[in-house]
Symmetry: C2
Subunit: 555 residues, 2 copies
């Protein structure tokens, strides 16, 4: 009798469950549930208004995902609950909330439900920017070494700025919170009845280090006297790597999900990072890029090296026993969307309508008829700043080589190429600092749906590109860790490496670099690098000065 595991992936707008056959690796059924409350960026359910840059969620929506999608995949697959050896989850991060000692979200309590800080702060909640700025300043003044592990900056999206915002704006909630916890860990708590924390979110989002722990009490006191004991009192010192068993399904969770009591539950994970084993990566030298509106790059290493401009390096952060490195490009698909909305002439729009295709398909078809270098354009892909390797939000976009003969599809292609040059720059920076990148994998919407762009990436980074074989790589990854949490004796696997042999998937078709194109792109990339260094490393800070002027003028 075949055994199965279930992975549940919590995204920004919905959650999805997948049930996987542990003998064949087949994804037998999938179910999706959209959050009833979506992203709350305007007001709370009771009408309380939110400020600028807020983005909250309702923890009840997460429970609905369990309640609806797990029974559905069981039903659709015809799998009996006793055939399910384990369940795992992954989540957006840092998506966090304050809870009672029993794990009840403060926003569930009548007395706190009108207080914005009592709710779940979603990963893209940006209202803690001031706290992040002050935190970075204080850390720099104090010479905190942890800064280097994060490319020199802690993001406003991460755990500590979000907690500090709560304390600054609503100390009652800060005091009432027995724990501040990642939503990832909170949903696991709801399944197992006990609190666990995972090394992935702690390491990448809460400044935790396997050997040095969290920042010191002195540092937290420097932020705010009340935060001195934050770690001891409201976080957790016990952290478990991915694949570890967090516990088992409780009776209550069994009623909620239809799974058997006692079914193994894996510790939580992050959606991007959990995709690594889903494409079969369990050892160093293989980079995975998740390419969508932005891009997240991950790779494993055997030692802790400070690579300039990465987003973090965490021991056991992705796969136990390795150092997981993360880097990022803050604007990828967003570039093309901006271009389509702002720079596409009416004639093109009409042609797309006439052909019954969307504007991106039209621009892609036209751009595909061009040869590399034919446009004479080169761009810097900094429309939303540069995350890796310059870690500078104040950089902006640039394009050179424009003439009266320049066509929209040439600019569109130049933007695609610029994001690929940005990826190559990240790869080369890793390699120059002793983290080899021998293979390249891609997942995410653009990787799966845009062969034209993936071919350009292959030509520019001069590596074969393998594409994720599952349309729900994160959920598949979670199912893999669920099987590991269950272990071989229960019908799962003892290691993620073993799970990967059966369960991981890449598409048969890969993208091979064209030697002819690569030669031209090497020349163009050389130009990109010169401009990258000139505008990005201080030779001409015109972009920053323009931003300052802009700020002065706007007042």
């Amino acid at each position: 009798m075949h055994k199965y595991s279930i992975g549940v992936d919590f995204g920004t707008l919905s959650g999805r469950a997948v049930i996987v056959d542990l003998t064949t690796g087949e994804e037998v059924a999938v179910a999706v549930h959209e959050y009833s409350h979506g992203v709350m960026d305007n007001k709370l359910p009771d009408g309380t208004s939110l400020g600028v840059d807020w983005a909250l969620q309702h923890p009840g929506d997460y429970l609905d995902v369990f309640r609806i999608t797990i029974p559905q995949v069981l039903k659709e697959s015809g799998v009996n609950p006793d055939q399910v050896v384990g369940v795992g989850v992954d989540f957006t991060a840092c998506t966090m909330l304050p809870v009672t000692p029993e794990g009840v979200p403060l926003c569930f309590l009548e007395k706190y439900r009108s207080r914005p800080n009592a709710w779940v702060k979603l990963w893209k909640h940006h209202a803690a920017q001031e706290e992040a700025n002050r935190l970075n300043m204080i850390a720099e003044e104090r010479g905190e070494r942890f800064l280097k592990r994060y490319g020199g900056k802690i993001s406003s999206e991460w755990m500590i700025p979000k907690i500090w915002q709560t304390l600054n704006e609503d100390p009652v909630i800060y005091d009432a919170a027995a724990r501040f916890i990642e939503a990832a860990d909170w949903v696991i708590w709801q399944l197992t009845g006990r609190e666990t924390r995972n090394t992935c979110t702690a390491g990448y989002k809460a400044i935790w280090h396997k050997h040095h722990g969290y920042p010191s009490k002195d540092f937290f006191r420097a932020l705010h006297p009340k935060m001195e004991d934050l770690v001891d009192k409201k976080l957790s010192l016990e952290l478990l790597p991915a694949g570890t068993r967090a516990g088992v399904i409780t009776r209550a969770a069994s009623e909620m999900t239809g799974l058997d009591e006692g079914t193994a539950v894996a510790v939580a994970n992050v959606d991007a990072h959990v995709s690594i084993p889903a494409v079969g990566i369990t050892s160093p030298g293989k980079m995975l890029a998740i390419i969508g509106t932005s891009t997240c790059h991950m790779i494993l290493g055997t030692t802790e090296i400070e690579v300039p401009g990465m987003c973090g390096v965490v021991e056991d952060g992705i796969i136990e026993g390795f150092f997981g490195y993360e880097a990022g490009q803050s604007c990828v698909g967003d570039h093309f969307q901006w271009f389509a909305e702002n720079c596409t002439p009416a004639e093109y729009r009409n042609q797309a309508i006439a052909q019954g295709i969307d504007i991106h398909a039209l621009l892609t078809a036209r751009a595909a008829s061009l040869k590399p270098g034919e446009s004479g354009l080169v761009a810097l892909d900094w429309w939303n700043g540069n995350r890796s390797v310059l870690v500078d939000v104040d950089l902006t976009g640039m394009i050179a080589g424009l003439t009266l003969a320049t066509k929209p599809e040439e600019i569109y292609r130049a933007l695609i190429e610029a994001t690929a040059y940005g990826t190559r720059m990240i790869i080369e920076t890793f390699e120059e600092h002793g983290v080899p990148v021998n293979e390249f994998y891609a997942a995410g919407g653009i990787a799966e749906k845009n062969p034209f762009m993936m071919q350009i990436y292959a030509d520019i980074i001069n590596r074969e590109i393998k594409i994720s074989g599952s349309p729900q790589a994160p959920a598949l990854g979670s199912a893999m860790f669920a099987a590991v949490a269950a272990g071989k004796r229960s019908g799962g696997f003892d290691t993620i490496r073993e799970a990967a042999v059966t369960m991981a998937k890449v598409k048969d078709q890969t993208y091979l670099p064209s030697e002819e194109n690569r030669k031209i792109y090497d020349k163009l990339y050389a130009e990109y690098r010169i401009l990258y260094d000139y505008f990005g490393r201080g030779a001409n800070d015109v972009m920053k000065r323009l931003k300052l002027i802009r700020k002065e003028v706007r007042g």
Copy 2:
């Protein structure tokens, strides 16, 4: 009884006559005639095909302008021919043709009418580029000093490359040509019955210098042995400055135009340069910019100075007794047209249609609501290379400061600002080399019709801008020189300065720089200059390398 003079302006597609009251300066009547043959860039009237980059005209069309427009302005104004003291013309340049000893265009002769080189080569005929390149190479090798007077390069649009092309492609026509002559001088010949040549076209377009004459026989022999005697045999050594009397209306010309035999005829002039007195400029320190698809800048000086990157300096070239300097920007209105055609979203196009305005009016209205510096953008206005002050056709456009929030109207405004920075760079270069620019005048389509842009220019160059008061400044300028050719005794004027007092016109409304805007633009211009030097003066020749790559790829 009032006296009158007539100016005839020969443009690219049509000719227009204006008759002006010499007592009041009033432009009493105007008449326009479109050339029947327009610009021939595809085939000759008999169907003979033309090559790439050819642009020819039919000299008969010019005579039609005389035949139709002069009688028409006489009729409309009710002026008696004996009240007309003189007639003057201006022309596009270098627009040239080969003629017989009697001044008959070779293309009028049956045996030559199928030979493209027998026709009028229009100013924008670009098929002599190879000859221009070789001429520049040879001149540089020989260390010819004249190159410096033209910013280092002789254009393919000018006289000598066009003649050389004739010799290379059709030596029969070269041999048959008794003269190669500017169309400007040729039409005067048709009015007076005798050949004259003007210092303006000779100086700016045929490498003539008041004291050094044309280039040496040695130089011409180095181009081609048959060209050694070009100057003596096919050009002219007698050149007259503007305002000089070329002759008087012959009986034949009287029949053609309805003017009295014996009416004074001024020597020919160039359309841009003749506009200088039309706005009242007759002394140094006052720059006139004619702003249209491209911009031509002219200013008078008292000494001959080699200013880097100008298009030419000619003694008596604009106003007798002064050195006339010319500079240029090769892409101004063309920028905005490119942007409107290639980068304007469908939504904007629809709004413009809904409001019943053209897309430029919509973009202008939106751009006008922005403050200087608010977009955070700065561009280099090199979409068609840079004429002054870098004289480099291989430079291309650049824009920096782009973000996901950048709107089309912000880019549109940045392009306008970039052309104004380019003008400021020209002004500063003149001033740094001892040619002061105390006042600024503007004429041409954009100057007259786009107050938003003119205000930006005023703010950026930090000078009051006076706008040409006549919608046909060149024709008015020609009428002024006609009055001078007639002289005071005949009811005209003895000097162009005197003519200007009565006849020159600027609009009452001028554009005054805003102190607040100027301060911001000073900062932005500083950024423009840094980028100008970086991309334009060899620090990073990325634009040229991109063009080379483009050429290699296109094959």
